[in-house]
């Protein structure tokens, strides 16, 4: 571990100072080439600082998983980085060679995939998979690696003796814990979690998230948590970025985002989760469906579904349908990409 990081306060209004662990600058990722290329991620700015839990929320196909894969440098053709840069502690990953990237992955940034539960090799004992993974990165002995594996299993709340278990002998939740333990094996500075608990039951999901939170407070790594479940993020993340159709449309500290979402898409998303307590009213959600990325609407990508985009206000309407909004800082730490957001409060 390079530095000791104090646990973050619940919700810092301003991102921690200093050089971020990961910073995306105008990142663009395309699938395919030429006329048929589709921009899955288009001009994304995002920074994750040490010890911070950043949530990235959006619907399927909005590009959130592509962002994660780009940070991990595991994009495969036809996907490719079409523009912008990914900085790890200020250094652009684009300049790195293959061997350097291989070492960067897992050691600096580790990832828990959406399908993580099935990413364990079914015919290998859990411990051996730890050993393989660790020895790919460090010259450690088999016994030392196994000892570390036991220790890590203990850390994520699994009986140490389970190093000898085969994946099918573990429940879904336990397999997910094993994957998290593997991700933490090399003490990465950033852990990316891409829908890590979607396939799990609510109770197990909650248990695992609590555990991850405890580990994060203890070891001080940063987390980029990707999910479609905004209500989960509000509880779990310090800061949330909302993605829509390949762009980040709003980012703010969780408490702020929950108290006063400014982008109409964020508001719509909030309107899509019925409350478990308090008064009930008929929710409206968001009309329409997310755009096909091969034919994004001109101007603001959200405008065909936006309640603030009405022809009755011709000046604003013209702007919304032709000019692409950029992220503006409405309040400290609260950025919104919306032409109408500043005007209405």
């Amino acid at each position: 571990m390079t530095e000791v990081i104090e646990p973050m306060p619940a919700a810092p209004a301003i991102p921690a100072p200093g050089v971020p662990i990961i910073e995306l600058r105008q990142l663009a990722v395309e699938y395919g080439a030429g006329d048929r290329s589709v921009r899955a991620v288009d001009g994304v700015d995002l920074a994750v600082h040490a010890g911070e839990v950043v949530g990235l929320a959006g619907e399927s196909g909005c590009g959130k998983s592509t962002v994660a894969n780009a940070i991990m440098q595991i994009l495969r053709p036809p996907a490719r980085i079409a523009g912008g840069s990914i900085l790890f502690r200020g250094e652009d990953l684009v300049d790195k060679g293959r061997e350097e990237l291989r070492r960067y992955r897992w050691r600096n940034v580790a990832m828990v995939f959406q399908s993580a539960m099935s990413s364990l090799n079914p015919v290998m004992r859990v411990g051996d998979q730890f050993v393989d993974m660790m020895r790919a990165h460090e010259p450690v002995s088999r016994n030392a690696a196994l000892a570390r594996a036991e220790e890590l299993l203990g850390v994520v709340g699994i009986d140490r003796r389970r190093v000898r278990a085969f994946p099918h002998e573990l429940s879904g939740g336990m397999r997910q814990r094993v994957i998290i333990a593997m991700a933490l094996a090399l003490e990465p500075q950033l852990l990316i979690m891409d829908e890590p608990t979607t396939a799990l039951d609510v109770v197990v999901q909650r248990e695992i998230l609590q555990q991850v939170q405890d580990l994060q407070r203890e070891f001080g790594f940063a987390i980029l948590f990707i999910t479609h479940d905004l209500s989960l993020l509000i509880e779990f993340a310090d800061r949330i970025a909302i993605m829509y159709a390949g762009e980040i449309v709003e980012t703010a500290p969780s408490a702020r985002l929950q108290a006063s979402p400014r982008h109409p898409y964020t508001r719509g998303l909030m309107e899509s989760f019925p409350p478990l307590t308090g008064p009930l009213r008929r929710l409206v959600g968001i009309p329409g469906a997310p755009p096909d990325l091969s034919a994004v609407p001109p101007g603001c990508r959200f405008h065909p579904r936006c309640p603030l985009c009405v022809p009755e206000q011709p000046v604003m309407f013209a702007r919304q349908t032709t000019e692409r909004p950029v992220l503006r800082e409405l309040e400290p730490g609260h950025f919104v990409a919306c032409h109408a957001a500043g005007a209405s409060t």
Partner: protein, 338 residues
Amino acid sequence: MSEAALEVRHLEKRFAADARFVGRRSYVHAVDDVSFMLRPGTITALVGESGSGKSTVARLLARLYAPTAGSVIYRGKDVARDKSRRSVLRYRSQVQMIFQDPFGSLNPVKTIRHHLERPLRIHGIVERDEVEDRVHELLRTVGLVPPGHVADKYPHELSGGQRQRVAIARTLAVEPVVLLADEPTSMLDVSIRIGILNLMLKLKEERDIAFLYVTHDLASARYLADDILVMYAGQIVEQGPIEQVLADPLHPYTKLLLSAAADPEAGVETKRIEVRKGLASAAVDPPDGCRFVGRCPLAIDVCSRVTPALVEAHPGQAARCHVTAPASAGIAAVPSTS
């Protein structure tokens, strides 16, 4: 209390857990002693975790599985064991099901028109020359316009939300009395889920349909449903009016579910839950006793020996718990099996 549109009593479904031909076979008790009724114009939520047997209940009611024991009472008659084609067809013309995965529940090589036309023709709902009009009407009901255009499409040309609307339209083709919805929104994008839930609310109000809403999501159950059934390891552990149950849950499992659910209104202050390890899925040859006993913070001696009965501890609200709903506290909500 109005007349039941559909009622099940002591429903039971076991699946063979091994393929042994000699000796005693073991069985997974997927559904065990489940009784409830669905009433017209009422949405009943069936909540549980995966493997709890909630989808099996829906499929039993849809007659996709045959129950091992128990009765399904429809129009005063037990239809569970009547397998004649006529009786099955009549049942299917009244009880319909919406499946979880709209990507799997439509035949990829058939047009949307085919999907809506078939039930109309099978059950002879309308005259042949009116079929096309009815197809259009159904598509309009679920908000798919222009209907003529949509009808010619193949499933892959529609989004998930649109497909789920087609699936709902298909169930409406027969003018059903009962609709079984098996996690109809869990495969959909968040922003379009509410639209499907609102459509179900509209159908309940306008057509007086009795809904069974199977879900693992308590918040959407609260949004939609009037009554709730909480399932754990194949049994109903708590039932009652949903607001009452969520405000004051009797069963410790209901409490656990409630505390594990994310709630946007609750704010950023993370709530901690204490959990003991255990599985919500139905067990192979479960022993007597409460199935939640291994995880239960309230467990007492009797819990691991005697299977608790559903007891109406509060008016309208029943639970299967020796501690919070002891048999002395109220009357058995349903007569016990034996």
